[in-house]
């Protein structure tokens, strides 16, 4: 697994201050994608054990983070490896929230055994491909209107998709 980018403090990928990991590799190839450079699984730097531990340390010792957001690429193409890192994060800092962006839709993720575990490890998943025709710059934290901000815990408990209504607060 490669890491395409890492932002230690971001305000753009979910509420609160969040560390953001861009996992290399995506096969959705959405027309108008903001980051086509990240599609290759060889883009960026190898996400070595050493680098994983280093970022884990930075994130867990940061006093202001609300959580971590996985971006891409699409982390769900590297779901098993991501899940292993997120498990360690969860163990060290259960108070942090985990968000993930994906071009899959949620229903695809939970029915695919290779992607279920990572889905369940997330608090929130912003799902669906970027559709240029549905682009809307006024939407918080996402690019096109088809994309949903899914509250994973409630969705699993209620057995029906529950999206979050995000105001600034």
């Amino acid at each position: 697994m490669n890491l395409y980018g890492y932002i230690p403090e971001s305000v753009n990928e979910g509420p609160g201050l969040r560390a953001v990991l861009f996992i290399s590799g995506c096969r959705h190839a959405c027309p108008g994608c903001f980051s086509p450079g990240s599609w290759s699984f060889r883009a960026g730097e190898p996400f070595t054990e050493k680098r994983q531990q280093q970022i884990l340390h930075e994130v867990t010792s940061h006093p202001l983070l609300e959580g971590v957001t996985l971006c891409g690429g699409d982390p769900f193409f590297s779901a098993a490896e991501c899940a292993s890192w997120v498990r360690q994060l969860r163990a060290a800092r259960p108070d942090l929230t985990v968000w993930a962006y994906t071009g899959f839709v949620y229903e695809e993720l939970i029915t695919d055994p290779s992607r279920t575990e990572l889905s369940r490890l997330c608090d929130v998943i912003i799902d669906g491909p970027y559709i240029a025709a549905e682009r809307d710059v006024s939407l918080p934290f996402r690019g096109s209107r088809n994309q949903r901000i899914i509250d994973v815990g409630t969705t699993m408990a209620d057995q029906t998709i529950v999206t979050m209504q995000l105001d600034a607060w």
Binding site: P8, V11, N12, L17, P63, L64, E66, V137, A168
Partner: protein
């Protein structure tokens, strides 16, 4: 350039040289020394001509020789040198409560105490305008919510009485019972009460909106300079005071005529635990609104009433003891003569020391020595500080000798407390002693790099030594205060006109030294350099301990990239972390770009996200902060060094 060369050309040469540079607009930096002044305008040029001539006169004929030489050599900087010989003073916190309650005279006419919030807020603008011609620096309202609350009440009474007539509710009720949360007023005449509440809210909102418009449109100093106005508020918990705060914030969020960010006034939200910092506290909603406003408009800034160095002065029964700042950062709360409160006084003047030059002379950066000459550094620092202090004292004597009539409105109306008792020709004398004389500094970061090869953001040992330098300076100021029986304080200088001047002089003398003077500017005060990347919380932690040492004022910023307006949770957490670290005054910088085609406000790269207009075809306005105040489009109004600093700002994210 030595002193002789500088002093020798006859005045006609100076004038023709100035004429060429200013009238012919050859020298952009001379014209843009102050981002708030339109140096390209006729009146701006006229003002620069006077100002440059006055500086030359002061240097040649007025300053003590030692001081003039130190200025020449870039050891220190005398701020607002053009005002030195005149004896003008710097800035003030205005006692709006008293001026509004007693009425005042602008010189051309007298003004009665206002009967409504609408006229009170109009008078606030007029007072700011009258006052700012008495001084050269900022004008600040230190508790505008408390100052204006009584006029909200007056408006309410007026609307209530009108409501009684309109709805025929004739029950008799005393004036004292008429206010926004009066049960008696509500029970006796419910329709009049509802009417009065609604009308009062509307009127206050409109008054706030027009105040903000007024403060952005009244160009009164020469050069179309808009007064540097600041409004502090946030602690008044009466319904009327809260309405003032809320209306000011909401009007600022709405913006000016086309929704654009107002450049003035600077807003400062006063933060106090138990009043506005947590859920359940009476003004927590206002703090949240202030955060929302700041995430859109870059202010309010946040001043920390709970800081260890502010709290001892705070007396809940006297709102004049709540810490307030000039927008830039100036703090003048304490007074060795007992006026430990804000209004009716301010800063008198300040001189700034070039720490970088000392670092170059005694550090390792020139390769002359392997270890920094620490003893040499402190000896030289002491000598520069003495020189700077002598300059402050010399200037203070000039200021004391000015007749009251020279600062006119300020003394006649007692804006400076006690001035109202002076005859026009009487010197202001030691009435000024309640103000502060401040010693400032710039470039601690480059100084440390010059001394040790690393700055205080890179190395904890260097950080400890950096703190030691600033502590030494503070102890010197305290010593001088005792010796001269004056309020001599240490200032984390806001360095606008100054940010490139020392750099230029030092580069001419020592050549370009990597990491020290190879940029166009020196880093502001004790800040971790804007080009050094580190997490926001680390910047806060590293800068926090300097705040308690700088008793004349300091500010810390963090830079955030991206659209903060959609993420006020992050914004609030960072602000409250800074307050918890004992930072006195704090703000978050983030880009506010505006597309003139579609009105989109937020972050704009090359292409507008709203309408896809391209930078090459449309001129996006890019609002940034300089020395604490906002300024319009930074590519037009910033000087060269400040533009370079903005380009170098690393986002903490």
């Amino acid at each position: 350039m030595n002193m002789l060369e500088y002093a020798s050309p006859p005045a006609s040469d100076l004038l023709s040289d100035l004429g060429r540079r200013i009238i012919g607009a050859e020298d952009a930096d001379t014209l843009r020394e102050n981002a708030n002044l339109n140096g390209d305008s006729f009146s701006g040029k006229m003002s620069r001509l006077g100002s440059e001539t006055a500086k030359w006169h002061a240097l040649r004929h007025v300053l003590p020789k030692e001081l003039a030489l130190a200025v020449e050599h870039g050891d220190l900087y005398v701020h607002d040198l053009d005002q030195y010989a005149l004896g003008t003073t710097n800035c003030i916190f205005i006692p709006f409560d008293r001026l509004l309650a007693s009425g005042f005279n602008t010189g051309n006419g007298s003004v009665r105490t206002p009967q409504t919030i609408m006229s009170a807020m109009a008078l606030v603008a007029i007072i700011f305008q009258s006052q700012q011609n008495s001084q050269y620096g900022g004008v600040s309202a230190n508790k505008i919510d408390w100052d204006l609350a009584p006029y909200v009440k007056r408006s309410f009474r007026k609307h209530y009485r009108k409501g009684q007539r309109l709805f025929g509710e004739i029950a008799s009720i005393e004036d004292e019972q008429l206010h926004l949360v009066s049960d008696e007023a509500k029970e006796k005449c419910p329709r009049a009460f509802a009417f009065a509440c609604e009308e009062t809210e509307l009127e206050t909102e409109q008054a706030a909106e027009s105040l903000i418009h007024n403060l952005n449109t009244m160009s009164s100093r020469a050069g179309g300079q808009i007064p540097f106005t600041s409004l502090n508020y946030g602690l008044c918990t009466s319904a009327e005071g809260r309405l003032v705060s809320r209306s000011l914030l909401e009007a600022t969020i709405r913006g000016l005529g086309n929704g654009e960010t107002p450049v003035f006034p600077q807003h400062i939200f006063q933060c106090k635990q138990g009043i506005n910092q947590s859920e359940g506290e009476p003004n927590y909603d206002l703090f949240r609104l202030a955060v929302t406003c700041s995430s859109r408009r870059m202010y309010p800034n946040f001043v920390n009433v709970d800081a260890s160095f502010n709290l001892p002065y705070y007396q809940p029964e006297d709102p004049d003891t709540i810490i307030a700042t000039m927008g830039c950062r100036t703090r003048t709360l304490a007074d060795r003569f007992g006026r430990n409160r804000q209004s009716g006084k301010g800063n008198l003047s300040f001189n700034t020391i070039n720490l970088v030059k000392l670092g170059i002379r005694y550090g390792i950066c020139q390769g002359a020595r392997a270890i920094a000459d620490r003893a040499g550094f402190y000896t030289a620092l002491e000598s520069v500080m003495h020189n700077a202090t002598d300059g402050l004292l010399h200037r203070y004597r000039i200021q004391m000798n000015q007749p009251a009539k020279a600062s006119d409105f300020m003394m006649r109306e007692g804006v400076w407390e006690g001035g109202e008792q002076l005859a026009p020709n009487e010197p202001v004398a030691d009435l000024l002693k309640h103000g502060t004389l401040s010693l400032g500094f710039i470039g601690l970061a480059e100084c440390m790099t010059a001394l040790y090869g690393r700055h205080h953001g890179q190395d904890l040992h260097v950080h400890r030594e950096a703190l030691n330098i600033i502590r030494t300076m503070r102890e010197f100021c305290d010593r001088m205060s005792e010796q001269h029986n004056l309020n001599i304080t240490l200032f984390a200088t806001p360095a606008e006109g100054l940010s490139g001047k020392f750099t230029k002089i030092d580069r001419e003398r020592y050549g370009s030294i990597a990491g020290v003077n190879d940029r166009e500017y020196y880093t502001n005060s004790f800040h971790i350099p804007v080009y050094h990347s580190l997490p926001a919380y680390r910047k806060i932690e590293l800068e926090a301990p300097f705040h308690s040492l700088c008793n004349a004022g300091a500010i810390s910023y963090v830079e955030l990239d991206g659209n903060v307006r959609a993420n006020t949770a992050a914004f609030q957490r960072i602000v409250q972390y800074a307050l918890a670290q004992d930072i006195g005054y704090f703000s978050i910088n983030h880009p506010i770009d505006r597309c003139p085609s579609c009105g989109y406000e937020g972050v704009i790269g090359e292409v507008c996200p709203g309408c896809e207009a391209h930078e090459n075809h449309v001129h996006f306005q890019r609002l940034r902060r300089v020395t604490g105040y906002l300024t319009g489009d930074y590519k037009v109004r910033f000087n060269g060094a400040k533009q370079a600093e903005v380009r170098d700002r690393v986002k903490h994210r």
